[in-house]
Symmetry: C2
Subunit: 286 residues, 2 copies
């Protein structure tokens, strides 16, 4: 099966490598061709635009940065929608707006094609190892017919409902992480101000009812002043803005998530957009 | 060794049962004698006041509700401080104010005695099983001399520094939990509003970078509308108020913890003080 893949960043490249390992033929496009070098060396073919990718493939997958990038890739002048074929399956892996996912699915349907929203969690390491969790919304039959494709890069593949539901599930995930990240940073800020030994605080707090993945994985990095990105601040801010916009549409108030968003925006204003999310501690440790 | 124990609530009774199992002699007092019935049946002796408990024992332990209860028990008319003996060790297990712990330790020193602050985590189940985590502040030699006593009810016993440090470590723990609880409830509120299947959201979100103890343990209870207390709302509000007061004294802002406190206060104003902390979801699911 010929897979078109648009977006060869860290996440996309990991997924592409796993698809190649599973003997899929890959045609790729990326805004900056230079960043596709690694996957081209692994055997992927190059195409000159998203439309060319769609023409050259059976299934199109996209993994880009922001909702506007998704719009550009699908609806731009040489976008996927210009070349989509009847019965072709389009899969957006980007974490993006549920409403945009619905909008694109409708456009695909108008053209006799199908679209799934399928954001992932598990980070760059999950992408490399093929152990991502994939949250899928859209046509369930299409997912079932392409399960082998999903399992080439995803360990857990879960269907959540009609178009946009995969994005909603991902938003629920990010809302939870907003809580663990702000809690962790305020916990460490307090402990340091109280002159406690931070490694012992981490060991103790992560041993009981306060235990969480962020504390176990990012806590030790913070203690080493290691702010290299597992997940970019700028992408987390994007996710939290989407979550809060969607919540507002549903007349739902999320005050703790809103507080987390404001703290991360403050961090971005300090110039730390390209740090990892654990850099939130810098708001306290100047 | 004769242990005096003041406070035979759920936590205190569990700890007393473990001390009796380890062949310590117990003398107990509780504001409401009726609630001491179970431990008296197990072999503990009754004393008529905190002062009487201090007279009849080598080490005095206290596990009461609020900082004012700690003040009453130690400094009241028939309080522990009225009868404390030279070299006697006093241990407060209540989660209370670091500044109060320092104040009481100073009072003990004036009387030639010793005092440790040693709040615990692990809940009623940890108290029953003897698997609590104990966070200790005060005289390190006193802790080392009484390690066997601490390990009769605590699996992990950790020393954090001078008087008040045990309370500070516990505050760091509660600040972290404020993040996991608010994150979990807003995650579930969002997922429900988006018409996702909540059991699948729990399974997915708890499978990756958002994973945490609250979600794993309280998430399923919320889905069953089970708000019975593992940990009371009123006690969590007390803890968060202490944490934020102490932070303010250290000129430290904790906006996410402050938001969590305001949400839990709102829950208390609705009349849900005696529910478990997972009842926070009621702010969204009326």
């Amino acid at each position: 099966m010929r897979i078109g893949f648009i977006g060869t960043g860290v996440m996309g490249s990991g997924i592409i490598a796993n698809l190649l390992k599973h003997d899929y033929d890959l045609v790729v496009y990326n805004r900056t061709k230079e960043h596709a070098k690694d996957v081209l060396n692994l055997g992927a073919k190059w195409a000159d635009s998203p439309a060319q990718v769609a023409r050259a493939s059976d299934v199109v997958m996209t993994m880009v940065g922001f909702p506007q990038d998704v719009v550009d890739v699908y609806c731009g002048q040489n976008g996927v929608m210009k070349a989509v074929k009847p019965n072709q399956l389009l899969i957006d892996l980007t974490t993006s707006k549920p409403s945009l996912a619905q909008n694109l699915a409708a456009k695909a349907t108008q053209r006799g094609a199908f679209m799934l929203d399928a954001p992932v969690s598990g980070g760059d390491i999950g992408a490399q190892k093929g152990t991502l969790t994939v949250m899928v919304g859209g046509d369930r039959d299409q997912l079932n017919q392409h399960l082998a494709l999903f399992h080439a890069f995803g360990q857990t593949v879960r269907y959540f409902g009609p178009a946009g539901s995969g994005q909603h599930a991902k938003m629920a995930n990010q809302i939870m992480i907003a809580g663990t990240m702000t809690g962790m940073c305020e916990c460490l800020a307090y402990a340091k101000a109280a002159h406690l030994k931070l490694d012992e605080v981490l060991a103790t707090v992560n041993n009981g009812a306060a235990a969480n993945w962020s504390l176990a994985n990012y806590g030790p990095r913070i203690l080493k002043d290691d702010y290299t990105p597992g997940f970019f601040v700028k992408h987390f801010v994007k996710d939290l803005r989407i979550a809060l916009d969607e919540a507002a549409k549903m007349h739902l108030q999320l005050p703790a998530t809103d507080q987390a968003k404001r703290l991360y925006e403050q961090l971005m204003q300090q110039g730390d957009s390209d740090d990892g999310t654990q850099a939130l501690i810098k708001l306290w440790w100047k």
